[in-house]
């Protein structure tokens, strides 16, 4: 039994309001049967310093990635991750996390690869919940293990691989990294962790739209009108476009994927998770340096 949708008026403006919940909705529904709250953070220790009561932790880095292949876990491991946390195939899963839900949207995207039906983001994430002085706890929940089916991951609809991107050149693409990463100049900064790429720059034709432009000061998503002003008016994209988004390892671009797909209702947005760490190291793929989009 899925939980009721949040009927908040701001959310109602979005293309798929059922993909979001507000902090007040979550506070009201905490502990409901059929609901599991998942915290996914950039900071691996943050959950342990305090979290939303009853929430479980899923760490993208160490749990959703295959330990050997550069890929996500398979259906069996995914079933284990969910089952251990009390998530069944019908559970409503609400994701939240630090840094504007950056990693939480990544986790939601991975759940979507496995076709988990009812996935929702907590608008404003951890920052808003904390700012509102809502309850936090360090108590570790002990969910009862449940059965989660072993499902095949579908990498065709919302995920793009390098060859897909090569075939996509000339069609709309969004590079969501910072301007310095887009131009390639950040690769030359001494004493800073690098992109893990031999060359800096961007994929020819990709528009530079840093992901955080879609987030408001309080970490909530910008309103539908504000998002349309950025992606439709300024960038000239339309909801019927076939779009690929990428960043460095696919984490920031899953935030943009969520915005375009669920908030603006785009039909076909794929996240290229190989992103710059793959493209910037791949042999003979075209790149553009500097702030111009360039073309192939």
């Amino acid at each position: 039994m899925a939980l009721p949708n949040d009927t908040d008026p701001k959310l109602a403006e979005y293309a798929h309001p059922e993909r979001l919940v507000t902090t007040s909705w979550l506070a009201e529904h905490l502990g409901s049967p059929g609901l599991v709250v998942v915290e996914s953070d950039e900071d691996v220790l943050l959950y342990d310093t305090g979290h939303i009561p009853g929430s479980v932790k899923v760490d993208w880095h160490t749990e959703l990635n295959d330990p050997t292949t550069r890929d996500y876990v398979d259906g069996e491991r995914f079933a284990q991750i969910c089952g251990e946390r009390g998530i069944t195939r019908d559970t409503t899963v609400v994701f939240y996390g630090d840094r504007n839900n950056w990693w939480a949207t990544y986790a939601l995207w991975v759940f979507s690869l496995f076709g988990h039906a009812d996935v929702r983001m907590l608008d404003g994430g951890r920052a808003k919940w904390v700012a509102e002085g809502r309850e936090m706890t360090t108590d570790q929940p002990k969910p009862e293990a449940v059965e989660y089916p072993v499902v095949e991951r579908d990498d065709t609809a919302i995920r793009a691989f390098k060859d897909d991107v090569l075939a996509h050149l000339g069609k709309p693409m969004v590079d969501v990294r910072s301007p310095g990463e887009y131009s390639g100049e950040l690769l030359h900064m001494p004493d800073y962790p690098q992109e893990g790429a031999v060359r800096g720059g961007h994929i020819p034709g990709a528009a530079s739209v840093p992901w955080a432009r879609a987030a408001a000061e309080d970490a909530t998503f910008r309103t539908r009108a504000e998002l349309e002003a950025i992606y439709l008016e300024e960038q000239g994209l339309s909801a019927s476009d076939d779009v690929v988004a990428y960043c460095r390892i696919g984490e920031r671009s899953s935030h943009t994927w969520f915005v375009l797909t669920h908030l603006l209702g785009f039909d076909k947005v794929r996240n290229y998770d190989g992103s710059w760490t793959e493209w910037g190291n791949a042999v003979r793929v075209p790149i553009v340096q500097g702030s111009d989009r360039g073309s192939v």
Partner: protein, 142 residues
């Protein structure tokens, strides 16, 4: 490799426990990061955001008349991992001779055995932190 004694002790502490306990140890260290002295308060307000992929970290390095290094850090409470890394640096290097700090291998942190629990990608933050400390030590010692 030769590490300053306190740093070696920390490395041994990490090596002696399971990956899960290493996370708990890092969390404990994050809580022990000393507060910034008053004189840095204003500077820390303008904490440099080094890179979009990293948590903000304020770092000040002082080298005294006897060529010993003193480290000062500040990182927000919502960045416990960064605070934990900073705390390792502080515990292991504060008060050590500049030459010994500069001699710490850039990859010493691999001996902490955190790759499995923290992920190699996150650990790069630790490498960057040591790089910045050494850079400031070199600048201060001419």
């Amino acid at each position: 490799m030769t590490l300053p004694p306190q740093l070696q002790e920390l490395v041994d502490d990490f090596a002696d426990v399971t990956p899960k306990q290493r996370l708990e140890l890092l969390l404990e260290l994050s809580r022990e990061l000393p507060e910034l002295p008053e004189r840095f308060a204003d500077a820390a307000d303008t904490m440099e955001q080094v890179h979009e992929c990293q948590s903000p970290l304020f770092l000040a390095v002082e080298v005294d008349d006897t060529e010993h290094v003193h480290l000062f850090f500040s990182a927000p409470p919502e960045s416990p991992t960064t605070r934990g890394f900073a705390s390792i640096m502080h515990t292991g290097l504060d008060g050590e001779p500049a030459a010994d700090v500069l001699a710490v291998p850039d990859d010493f942190y691999t001996a902490l055995g955190l790759a499995q629990a923290v992920s190699p990608l996150r650990l790069r933050g630790m490498a960057a932190m040591l790089g910045r400390i050494k850079k400031q030590v070199r600048a201060a010692t001419g």
